[in-house]
Amino acid sequence: MSPLLVPLAAGDNRALTITLFLAVVVVTLGITFWASRQNKSAADYYAGGRSFTGFQNGLAIGGDYMSAASFLGISGSIALYGYDGFLYSIGFLVAWLVALLLVAELLRNSGRYTMADQLAYRMRQVPVRSAAASSTIVVSIFYLLAQMVGAGSLVGLLLGVSSPGVKNLVIIGVGILMIVYVTLGGMKGTTWVQIVKAVLLIIGTLLITILVLAQFHFNLSELLGAAAQKSGKGEAFLQPGQLYGRDLVGKFDFLSLGLALVLGTAGLPHILVRFYTTPTAQTARKSVLWAIGLIGAFYLMTLVLGFGAAALVDTAKGSPVATSSGNAASPLLAQAVGGGEGTLGGAVLLALISAVAFATILAVVAGLTLTSASSLAHDIYANVIKKGKASERSEMVVVRIAAFAIGAVAIALAIPAQRLNIAFLVALAFAVAASANLPALLFNLFWRRFNTVGATASIYGGLIAAVVLVIFSPVGSGTETSLFPHAHFAWFPLRNPGLVSIPIGFLCGIVGTLVSKDTESQKRYDELEVRSLTGAGAEKATAH
């Protein structure tokens, strides 16, 4: 994100925006305190008592998944680069079919609280849980850092302040809020925060979408024509090639990104744990169906928002939209369709969309913190350190300490990370999820011979391959926006490692399995298969 910030709000606007931000904080904290009194058991804390309906969990999945990066980022990217900005959202949506067809129901039936539970079902606990917890924490921290650094800039942008001190305060404030949500509210509180956010986000985008379409007589072609003309690029604005794949390396880079997006979603730990919050596999399926509908509708609306901003808002070089890498596009579009700068309607819509973006950030960081804290407490503390002999009470103390620690680490890393270009972190999180987690999950469910060595090999292999390739890519060194701009060790040309690291993850799983003589894990394969497909012996909802 560009360090150049453009104040969107001033005077009365700012007071209105701050009021709405505070309203979001008050409502979400209210939910959290309510939920905290209902957390009685580990199943309540980790999985919200497994009592959410398909519709509720579908909304929560949407709330967990549609980050500020996709709300402001995708529409902004469309506003600046036209058609290519739309490509991210297609990968993000199609990916849900992997979750629906191969993962959601089987995982719901065979796991309990964390991603590792499902692998540990038939593998040796200590090595497999250590591996799965490592990748859970790496993926979640990457994602969390991207969200928190984004939060600092976004809130600064939305409130119209650009001083580094204020941005640091915002990061600390968001960090403290997420620690409170997670330590008190657990999964139940976090889920309700995500549900509220999803409803706000859908209503907000729907409102702006309708107002934009109304300006073009509800004619998509007319909107596209106006956007293409205003962009100054003409028809090329509506065709692929403005952002991705300008040369051969760029084309392979885009292919690599596309693969990571479509295969990564079903390996994101904070998404996987959402399937545990429903009472049965059938409800988990329904929740994914709702999520596909909501997320699909949302991305279709961002298409209108993006082209709407291109047509109605100034996106020329040096404009607020351009200097904020597109993040200001949706808020400014809201202002424009509300009546323009200086009008009451414009001010209200601008403040509203800003508050929706703020709620979005809070819900996503809460989900990520909860997932990594759960993995630390349930996988590392209870099963690796205490070998499964920890009392539920002590586990519940540890998970809260873990949430506090993750929050503190995230704040400490996010403040210095602000000067870096962190846009690659989300793509890297998807690449690790696709390279490390997905192979292990799929082999465990569908390949009887798969064993402990194979599981650890695929997780560590995919994880290390993805991270190492990014370090030795142009993201790591050699260009102006690199982590080390003045060093030159970028021997791997692609910014997105998926094209190479995903096959490495699968290959490590196969080779690791075949070189090991271990057949112990095959003994419980029948049991895992029966349980995952029929739900026989699966965890039930807790009764209240």
């Binding site: 490509l87 990968g91 309990r112 072609s221 084309k251 292919l255 029948d526 029966v530 739900g535 012996g537």
Partner: protein
């Protein structure tokens, strides 16, 4: 931890979980459930992945085709992208219908037998 608790409950009824799991695994009904599930899930997964990769590849290497106008300012690239949304919705709908009709009745039957055997 939970497994020990479950084991105790099952023993009091004279049957262990693992016995019941092996019985179900050997049951022709379970083999049928597994066959039905895989018959839908695997071809559907291959189909949508190929369809999606084709779309990504066309964005890279078939730009002339993607830029062709269909109607007004709407070109092949946009229609292809919107078709990815449509195919996702359709596959999700078809799977939900298939699972409700062909998978759920079988899995419920098997699960209920397991539960009555193990006393849960």
């Amino acid at each position: 931890m939970a497994r020990t608790r479950r084991g105790t409950a099952a023993r009091s009824r004279g049957r262990s979980d693992s016995q019941s799991y092996s019985d179900l695994a050997a049951d022709p009904g379970f083999a049928e459930l597994k066959r039905r599930y895989r018959r839908f899930a695997i071809p559907a997964t291959i189909a949508f992945l190929v369809w999606y990769v084709t779309y990504v590849v066309c964005n890279n290497w078939a730009r002339g085709f993607m830029g062709t106008r269909v109607v007004g300012h709407i070109n092949v690239a946009l229609v292809f992208g919107l078709l990815q949304f449509l195919s996702t919705f359709v596959i999700a709908y078809l799977y939900a219908r298939y699972a409700g009709r062909r998978l759920d009745p079988l899995s419920t039957q098997l699960r209920e037998r397991f539960e009555s055997e193990t006393g849960r």
